[in-house]
């Protein structure tokens, strides 16, 4: 086939190429990785992308910018509200629209709930890759509570299109607030069980510690951000580094690791769930009354000529939208810089010479969502 597989096989007689194909239980999505194996050791990895390419950036050049909002949700289905947030923020900054305070609070609460939901799914699915069949059931049980809460207010369970330019589409009510508070209490009571049964398990620790070590320098060269970067010790979080929305008002920590291995990013994501709960609590306590849509949002939203950038902290890392506008309401160029794209590009360097089981561990720790890589 086209990937020079034949050449790889002929060159090194004792190596063979194993295809972790687009359909595989542990590549989360349609990712194909060509592994050149020598026994159990992966000597060379070649990710093959593009199986989920849906031309989002081309679509953006043909639709008015406001109408692109549903597309943002389809790129990362797990962190859809945060993708919505980044895009809404981009257009609001560009057009000079100021959103009411209640909107900011609602956006923060729902985004953090979305982050927790994404981390819970990652948690369960990662452990499933490692062979533990039970924790996914427990984490999905917790996740269902979030999905129910968000479904009431946004109308969907996964690919949310809730934010609009200038506000949100529907207001939150008393049921949402009480439901969220009950959920915070419930999840906090579940964390000790996860710590005991899963995180402290000797087999899990042996699978994750010292596997796939990253350093801040590697992260700088590849553009790796998010929990992987924080696992190496760099406390770089968009919510703190370039505070957007009202994140500067809240008191929360940025969990970091030290070694940069799979265990470090695992624990960073686990502790981030607790920090998100803190943010949600503070936001619910300070939720003001007010309108849920900015005063004057034109139907045809003309964006002044120039280029604009909006960076937010997605569950997987830094998400940046870069918009080039020529003054009309249709973008001239929209680039979506997704975190999993840069995170995945490190695996040929990180996983070279690793055992196959470690490749699976390392790829799970990257927390990939393939649709956001292929866009």
């Amino acid at each position: 086939m086209s990937m020079d597989v034949k050449a790889l096989e002929d060159d090194r007689h004792h190596r063979y190429v194993l295809n972790m194909g687009p359909q595989h239980p542990s590549t989360h999505g349609v990712l194909r990785v060509l592994l050149e194996l020598e026994g159990e050791y992966a000597m060379n990895l070649l990710p093959v992308l593009g199986y989920g390419h849906r031309c989002h950036e081309k679509i953006a050049e043909f639709k008015p910018a406001k109408s692109f909002m549903p597309n943002t949700a389809r790129m990362d289905y797990l962190g859809a509200l945060i993708y919505n947030h980044g895009f809404a923020q981009l257009l609001e900054k560009a057009a000079g629209i100021e959103v009411p305070e209640r909107v900011e609070y609602i956006r923060v609460i729902t985004s953090e709930l979305n982050r927790i939901q994404s981390h819970l799914l990652w948690y369960g699915a990662y452990l499933l890759d490692l062979g533990a069949f039970t924790p996914i059931m427990y984490s999905f049980d917790d996740r269902e509570h979030i999905l129910d809460i968000l479904e009431d207010v946004t109308g969907s369970r996964l690919t949310y299109c809730y934010f609009r330019v200038g506000g949100v589409s529907k207001d939150i009510d008393e049921k949402f607030v009480t439901g969220t508070r009950a959920f915070i209490k419930r999840l906090r009571s579940r964390f000790p069980m996860y710590e005991d049964l899963v995180n402290g398990n000797i087999i899990l620790q042996k699978r994750l510690i010292d596997v796939g070590e990253l350093t801040p320098h590697i992260c700088a060269r590849y553009g790796i951000t998010g929990p992987l970067l924080r696992g190496t010790g760099v406390a770089y979080d968009m919510r703190r580094a370039e505070p957007y929305s009202i994140y500067s008002k809240f008191d929360f920590e940025i969990p970091t690791g030290t070694k940069g291995d799979c265990m470090a990013s695992f624990m960073v994501r686990f502790h981030e769930m607790e920090q998100s709960l803190r943010i949600i609590e503070q936001a619910l306590d300070g939720l003001p009354e007010g309108p849920i849509m900015a005063a004057k949002v034109p139907k045809k939203l003309k964006i002044p000529a120039g280029d604009y950038n909006s960076s937010v902290e997605a569950p997987r890392g830094e998400l940046s939208y870069y918009l080039v506008s020529d003054g009309s309401d249709v973008p001239y160029r929209l680039k979506v810089r997704t975190p999993s794209y840069s995170n995945l590009s490190v695996i040929p360097e990180m996983c070279q010479g690793m055992l196959l089981s470690d490749v699976v561990s390392a790829m799970g720790a990257l927390d990939l969502v393939i649709p956001e890589i292929d866009r």
Binding site: S2, L49, G50, H53, C55, E57, K58, E61, L90, K93, A94, G96, P216, C219, A220, R221, Y222, G223, I224, T225, L229, V234, Y236, A241, E242, P304, A305, G306, D307, Y308, N309, S310, S311, E318, S320, Y322, V324, S325, D326, G327, Y332, R333, K335, R337, Y341, S342, S345, V346, E349, D374, R375
Partner: protein, 182 residues
């Protein structure tokens, strides 16, 4: 990282360094480069501790513009560096300096046809192998704009009309009153 120090080094390498208003445009500095200075710029950024956020291309009239976005882990400093491709639609690669650029450059080659000289494996990344000449994000003739059309318009004319209304509220009521009185 001392930003002034770094800015001086940028000014040596580049044709223009602009300060940009962060609240509106989301980045701090805009650096315009010649395509042969791109590699030196990238080496400088890596030494100063910047990470590569993004690498993409915009199709405008004099030539395709390749935009590099860098940001810093410790201080808030987001830099956009731009360079026009040369006549043969080529650009030197920075994938040996910033390995993350490897995939970004392959994608730019897919979508815009920009060939990066020195890239180790410039095969299609997102598009299938047979669509290597498709270049989907190149604009059609009718839609292609000049580079000035997509640049931010200078804000100078705006303060002048704003300056005028300020004295007016002081003058008009008096004039009206004097008119009414008279």
């Amino acid at each position: 990282m001392d930003i002034n120090q770094v800015k001086k080094q940028w000014q040596e390498l580049s044709t223009a360094v602009e300060d940009v208003e962060y609240a509106v445009s989301g980045h701090d500095y805009n650096v315009c480069l010649e395509c042969d200075k791109v590699r030196d710029f990238a080496t400088l950024m890596l030494d100063e501790g910047f990470y590569l956020v993004d690498l993409m291309a915009v199709h405008v009239t004099p030539a395709i513009e390749v935009v590099y976005q860098f940001a810093h882990f410790e201080t808030r400093c987001r830099v956009l560096a731009r360079a026009f491709v040369d006549d043969k639609v080529e650009m030197p690669t920075i994938s040996d300096i910033y390995q993350g650029a490897n995939w970004h450059e392959r994608e730019t080659r897919d979508f815009h046809g920009v060939v990066f000289i020195g890239h180790p494996y410039l095969k299609p990344l997102i598009l299938p192998e047979e669509d290597v000449d498709l270049k989907p994000l190149l604009k059609a003739e009718a839609k292609l704009k000049d580079v000035d059309a997509v640049r931010r318009k200078p804000p100078e004319p705006a303060p002048a009309p704003k300056a005028k209304p300020a004295p007016k509220p002081e003058v008009k009521p008096a004039a009206v009153k004097s008119q009414e009185q008279s």
